[in-house]
Amino acid sequence: MVQLAEKLVTPFAKSAAESGNVREKTKRGVSKAPGTGRVKVSEMSIVFDTGGKKHVAVENANLTVEPGEFVCLLGPSGCGKSTLMNAVAGFVKPTTGNITVDGKPVRGPGPDRGMVFQQHSLFPWKTVRKNVAFGPRMTGHSVTEANSIARTFLAMVGLSAYESYYPSALSGGMQQRVGIARALANYPDVLLMDEPFGALDAQTRSMMQENLEQLRREFHTTIIFVTHDIDEAVFLADRIVVMSASPGHLIEDIHVDIPHPRTPETLTESRFVEIKKHCLELIRSETIRAFEQQERR
């Protein structure tokens, strides 16, 4: 019943109209400090030592993401794109090279970099509101402030009505929206999304992509988005960075010059199809190469 309603109503359309008075209610509203969120990855390699065997997950990666830019890391599974993102998040230490956010080196996970996981990352014992209020609470806000911030962001993802539900009572798509609200509630300079829609069904998935495209216009943050779905990457990204399979390194940087806002019609535009074709060819040859490598082992 609710899942059906979710598919019929575009939650962000409503929030766009609401966000005006939402901003008045809280001091900061949903806007964040402009001009922050430059991510710089320089000559970074990550080598895992698995039982004596060395596995190069990322090799000599160089990447600069400008403030407010939406970059998709695209590549076949196991190419190290999630490892690269986890390094930016601070969960994985680079073996060589370094990462900076606005000039400051990354030393561990922190609230300046919001993280959205693939699935099952909400705290099941906290209600939807308490999940979203958790970040503000941890960064020094009072309960009242944290709750008000949580309500602002829940309104933004269209889930105000569900604030006192436990996550297990929500559908997969709703859970991911809560996850996005939770990550944004800390006003992060960078939003890191690790295949956030990967576990959703096709309809919910495209709905969520459109929602994210609208959300970006309300909340100008740098986004690094990991996916292996080419359509998703071309639809969302300003830039697509294609990664090759083991050892993972960046092979191409594609500028997606399709104007925003993008709509479902974008998917059939000739420029969209052109970029998609180019990505397909790249990924295909990379995947074949990866297969051959695995056979040789």
Binding site: W125, G135, M138, Y166, L170
Partner: protein
């Protein structure tokens, strides 16, 4: 079905009866599936046991098991009613409840603290697990002499033995629960700015809670088990002491009253743990928007 019977009246009657029996049987099975049907089965089961007990003791059944000296159900019931009118019986019961409450409380607090430390820090696990491995298999009865030597008062030695029984399942379950905290949730909390203490309180403990509660439920059962061992050897009050002295005083119906009281108290206290912790685990129930 009906048409067939009309067509062949000669064989209609047995067919009819078979169908009726089949219908009654399936109706009966359906009845057993309802909630009150299921309780009816349990009550019948208890009554059957009492009936067998009655028959075996009145006929003085003696084959492998000897029922010649086993008191009859009716005698036990009479003694039970008699005891309910005395103060000492309640004194015995409350002495036992007090010991279990203190020992179980201590076991829960220390078991959760030690279990969390073991689950979080490999060093603590390596340091503490030899103690657990050595002491856990030792039955409560074996502790009695040492407990009497080590503790100044009988009360404290009995509480110590009871504590040991409850402690091990709680500490082990807590450790396993903590170790199974989803890595994603710890990462999510860290990325949201949580420090180690916040992660412990907001992520690790709630994640381990179902496991901790399971440990507490088992621990409560073993606590009663151990308490009885302690009370049989020493003490002036307590339901275990009552049961054992009844044997020495040749008051056989009293033994059975004592046994059944122990069983009842154990069941009730386990239920108390299960229902008392339920509000903390409300999030586990799937209620709401889905379905």
């Amino acid at each position: 079905m009906n048409e067939k019977i009309v067509d062949a009246p000669a064989v209609g009657l047995p067919n009819d009866r078979a169908a009726a029996i089949a219908a009654a049987w399936s109706g009966f099975q359906e009845l057993l599936g309802t909630w009150w049907g299921r309780y009816a089965v349990r009550i019948v089961s208890v009554m059957l046991l009492i009936l067998l007990w009655h028959l075996a003791s009145t006929r003085e059944f003696n084959l492998l098991l000897n029922f010649e000296n086993v008191p009859r159900p009716y005698a036990v019931w009479t003694v039970f009613l008699e005891l309910l009118g005395t103060d000492t019986f309640y004194r015995h019961i409350f002495a036992s409840i007090e010991r279990v409450a203190i020992a179980f409380g201590l076991a829960t607090v220390s078991g959760v603290i030690v279990g969390v430390m073991m689950g979080r820090y490999r060093f603590v696990e390596d340091f503490v697990s030899p103690y657990i491995e050595i002491f856990r298999p030792i039955p409560a009865v074996a502790w009695i002499p040492l407990a009497i030597l080590m503790f100044p008062r009988e009360q404290s030695s009995i509480i110590f033995i009871t504590f040991l029984g409850a402690f091990f399942p709680i500490v082990l379950n807590t450790m396993h629960g903590v170790e199974q905290t989803p890595k994603e949730l710890v990462r999510a909390a860290r990325a949201l700015g949580a420090n180690n203490i916040s992660i412990l309180w907001h992520v690790v403990l709630p994640a381990a809670l179902p496991s901790i509660v399971a440990g507490m439920t088992i621990g409560m059962g073993i606590a009663w088990f151990s308490l009885l061992a302690g009370e049989i050897i020493s003490g002036r009050y307590g339901i275990g002491y009552f049961t054992w002295t009844s044997y020495n005083l040749v008051q056989y119906p009293h033994i059975i009253v004592g046994m059944l009281t122990i069983g009842l108290l154990g069941t009730l206290s386990t239920l108390l743990v299960r229902y008392g912790t339920r509000p903390l685990l409300r999030w586990q129930q799937r209620v709401g928007a889905r379905d």
